[in-house]
């Protein structure tokens, strides 16, 4: 202890908030885990296999690209984990594993790596993967399985193990044979094409058909609230998105209750909740100014309802968010905050 201490020189600030990119991403993963567990409870072994496969494909792709480009290992930032989990949660539970894996590769390769990696991507990578799957496998991605089917923990759904480059069992079977036995429509499809509404409590708790992780509205809200309270999620995006979607749906519903579903149905059906809480809030692909964030959320909410009500597909969240992502750089530029002391000066005369 003789002599003064050695000194370290660094520039201010000498304190830092206990927060880092990997920590934020890790918490998003924590918040997604209960949803994954619930999905497995609802849909059984097939959902579990799908989640593991898609996640694995995403991680492997990221790893290989790092090796190839001689970049440092980026798996530790957890962003690829989030992409994998989110993508799996948006696919039907019986989605063939090889298709899931392909979508995972595309999500990382075309959704993230081509833009330059973390922080550079314009679109949410999970949605890029999902959009690819929608285009490439239109039949498989609309083949739904019922929730809580008996025997779901004993056997995989037949479609799950479809060999690569084959159509899934259910969809490839002759019309009118086994299809009805395995597949079930989602509340959105029922409403749009058959005008059958699903009981709101079932929607709220998630006991319906739908994508692996999108049905449990209540659970998604709770997990999102956890993130928002830890300040790892911008609550204004889901607030703007859900608020505007409900408001617009309400207007249509009042105009023609028979044709248009009520706001509650709009909020809790399909992927709106998952999209609002976990997809649109992707920090990289959303604007970063306070006003911009509101505009972005509201834009996506409005687009979702318009696509759902007037588009050809029952679901619109994915496209609405992708459009929102595309608009976000522009929104950010248009909503630069007014700097302190930036007083409107009169033009010199």
């Amino acid at each position: 202890m003789a002599g003064p201490p050695r000194i370290e020189i660094r520039s201010s600030p000498h304190l830092h908030e206990a927060v880092s990119v990997d920590m934020i991403m890790r918490h998003v993963v924590y918040a997604l885990l209960p949803i994954c567990v619930f999905a497995v409870y609802l849909f059984g072994l097939s959902a579990a296999a799908l989640i593991v496969t898609v996640l694995g494909a995403c991680l492997l792709t990221e790893h290989l690209f790092n090796r190839f480009a001689q970049k440092p290992n980026s798996l530790g930032d957890f962003s690829a984990v989030i992409t994998g989990l989110l993508l799996a949660l948006t696919l039907p539970p019986g989605f063939p594993l090889w298709m899931g894996a392909t979508a995972g590769v595309i999500a990382i390769a075309l959704g993230k790596v081509v833009f330059g990696g973390l922080g550079q991507n314009v679109f949410n990578p999970a949605l890029v993967g999902r959009a690819f799957a929608q285009a490439a496998f239109p039949v498989a991605i609309t083949s739904w399985s019922p929730a809580l089917a008996p025997g779901r923990f004993d056997t995989l759904l037949p479609s799950t193990l479809t060999p690569p480059f084959m159509l899934p069992a259910a969809a490839s079977a002759a019309p009118g044979t086994v299809v009805d036995a395995v597949s079930s429509a989602t509340p959105l499809t029922l409403q749009k094409f058959d005008h059958v509404t699903t009981n709101t409590v079932d929607l709220f708790t998630g006991m319906t058909g739908g994508s692996t992780g999108e049905t449990a509205a209540l659970l998604i809200l709770l997990c999102g609230a956890y993130l928002a309270l830890r300040r790892m999620l911008d609550w204004r995006i889901p607030a703007g998105m859900l608020g505007s979607a409900a408001a617009l749906a309400g207007v249509f519903h009042l105009a023609d209750p028979a044709k248009y579903p009520d706001p509650l149905f709009t909020l809790f059906s399909g992927g709106l909740m998952l999209g609002a809480v976990f997809m649109a809030t992707d920090v990289v692909a959303s604007p970063l100014t306070p006003r911009g964030v509101w505009i972005y959320g509201i834009l996506i909410g409005v687009l979702t309802v318009l696509i759902r009500l007037f588009g050809g597909l029952p679901e619109g969240v994915m496209y609405a968010i992708l459009i929102g992502n595309a608009a976000s750089p522009l929104i950010a530029v248009l909503t630069q905050p007014r700097a302190f002391g930036e007083v409107k000066r009169r033009k010199p005369t």
């Binding site: 202890m1 003064p4 201490p5 050695r6 000194i7 370290e8 020189i9 660094r10 520039s11 201010s12 600030p13 000498h14 304190l15 830092h16 908030e17 927060v19 880092s20 990119v21 990997d22 920590m23 934020i24 930032d77 990696g117 973390l118 922080g119 550079q120 911008d234 920090v283 990289v284 959303s286 604007p287 970063l288 100014t289 306070p290 964030v293 630069q336 905050p337 007014r338 700097a339 302190f340 002391g341 930036e342 007083v343």
Partner: protein
């Protein structure tokens, strides 16, 4: 009762809440620090021209005796912090690196160190110009860290007919408790100082803004000022960087200092608590500023406290006296948000030293944390009190587009508070980038 007020308590937009660590020294009354055997007194302890020495090596000096004279109006004299003998006048490293001239004094160990010099005055009889001169003579420079000569600031305020003197009692830097202790212990000097500053600046009223993490100080001030209509006390919310002059003016007067403008433009002049305490204390006896209260603190020292330290005391001596922990530390002059980590322990305490914070460095954390690319999370935007877009500025800095930073993104409004860097989860050294960009732009403009 105080409930509704707490809700409406004023503050500025954005900012950050950093953990405070003020408990280390909050309850420690001001104590005199030991005299170092040798003091190195810099000639430039204020903004403006350095003082000019008026002593020779070998000459004996008495405590409080002028040893360097002001060089022009934007300069202040320097007085001997101890009784002793001038050993040398030479160049020495300063806190910010470049060498400056300094007077080295060897302390007379046996001396009782009474202040021997002064020019007592009756302040009430002085004309404004004489008052300004008297303030310059005591060598006062702003004690909040910027060290602008106090008399010059008050004179400029008078010229611009300001009506409000804002007294900055926020002390928003974590760890610092100097102003807090001064408000509690030397409140009479403070109030006298405020009245002198009102007289010198021509302002009609004073508002003391105190962060609400110092309820005892607010209480003491309110009780003492109950009968004084010219001085108001306003509690403001605790938030960093509430103590910035622009933000405090905005909070207390609801006026925004225009970009590139000065506080005079909105009719205000801002003075720090410690400055006014010293003004009230030194002006009547006409004594020079030779020491100041410094919070010496941090997890790296054994006896944290608020000490009255003579100028020129080397940091090495300070650390020896208070005891340090561990063998590797960061020694910061000022607070940890805006202060400078010194590169040498020969650097002395000066008129601008608000605090000395010693943070131990564990070998494991010595290397900088991993830096990620910007994930566009917007935390820096939400933190910047000047409502800039630090993320955008950082991206432009990486592309060396310094001019665009200035012209389109208000680089010059950044006062380097560090809030953006503090919150960035990607650990991007934003404020460092901005500092470099500002320096390069300045160089280019020159």
């Amino acid at each position: 009762m105080a409930f509704p007020e707490a809700f409406t308590r004023r503050t500025f937009g954005h900012g950050v809440h950093a953990p405070e660590h003020k408990d280390l020294t909050r309850e420690r009354p001001i104590r005199r620090f030991a005299f170092a055997p040798r003091l190195t007194v810099p000639l430039s302890q204020h903004i403006g021209k350095p003082a000019v020495p008026c002593v020779r090596p070998g000459q004996e000096v008495g405590r409080g005796e002028p040893i360097a004279l002001a060089d022009g109006f934007l300069s202040v004299p320097i007085h001997a912090p101890v009784t002793g003998v001038v050993e040398a006048i030479r160049l020495m490293p300063s806190a910010r690196g470049p060498k400056t001239g300094a007077i080295v004094i060897k302390t007379y160990a046996a001396d009782d160190q009474q202040v021997l010099y002064g020019a007592p005055r009756t302040i009430e009889n002085l004309a404004p110009a004489e008052l300004i001169q008297a303030i310059q003579d005591i060598g006062l420079a702003g004690q909040g860290g910027a060290a602008f000569p106090t008399h010059a600031k008050l004179a400029a305020a008078r010229e611009h007919h300001v009506e409000t003197l804002i007294v900055n009692g926020c002390e928003c830097e974590p760890y610092q408790t100097t102003d807090h202790r001064l408000m509690l212990e030397w409140v009479d000097d403070l109030i006298a100082g405020i009245h002198f500053a009102l007289a010198a600046s021509g302002a009609r009223r004073a508002i003391i803004g105190v962060e609400d993490n110092k309820p005892d100080a607010i209480d003491v001030l309110r009780r003492r000022l109950a009968a004084d209509a010219s001085i108001a006390v306003t509690a403001v919310r605790t938030k960093y960087p509430q103590g910035s002059a622009e933000l405090l003016i905005k909070v207390l007067l609801k006026r925004e200092v225009p970009a590139g403008g000065r506080s005079y433009d909105v009719g205000a002049v801002v003075q720090n608590i410690a400055t006014l305490v010293m003004l009230g204390r030194l002006l009547p006896p006409g004594q020079g500023l030779i020491e100041r209260v410094v919070t010496i603190t941090g997890e790296g020292v054994k006896q944290p406290g608020n000490y009255l330290v003579p100028f020129g005391t080397p940091l090495g001596f300070v650390l020896e006296q208070v005891g340090f922990v561990g063998d590797m530390s960061r020694v910061i002059l000022g607070g940890p948000m805006m202060g400078t980590a010194v590169s040498s322990l020969d650097v002395p305490v000066t008129k601008a030293t608000t605090a000395i914070v010693v943070l131990p460095v564990q070998p494991a954390t010595a290397s900088a944390p991993r830096m990620y690319p910007c994930i566009r999370c917007g935390r820096c935007v939400a933190a910047c009190p000047m409502h800039l877009n630090p993320s955008q500025l950082g991206l432009l800095a990486a592309k060396r587009e310094y001019r665009a930073m200035q012209e389109r993104f208000h680089l010059d409004a950044c006062f380097e508070c560090g809030s953006c860097t503090y919150v960035c989860p990607a650990h991007i050294p934003l404020v460092q980038y901005l500092r470099i960009a500002k320096a390069l732009n300045r160089e280019q403009a020159a």
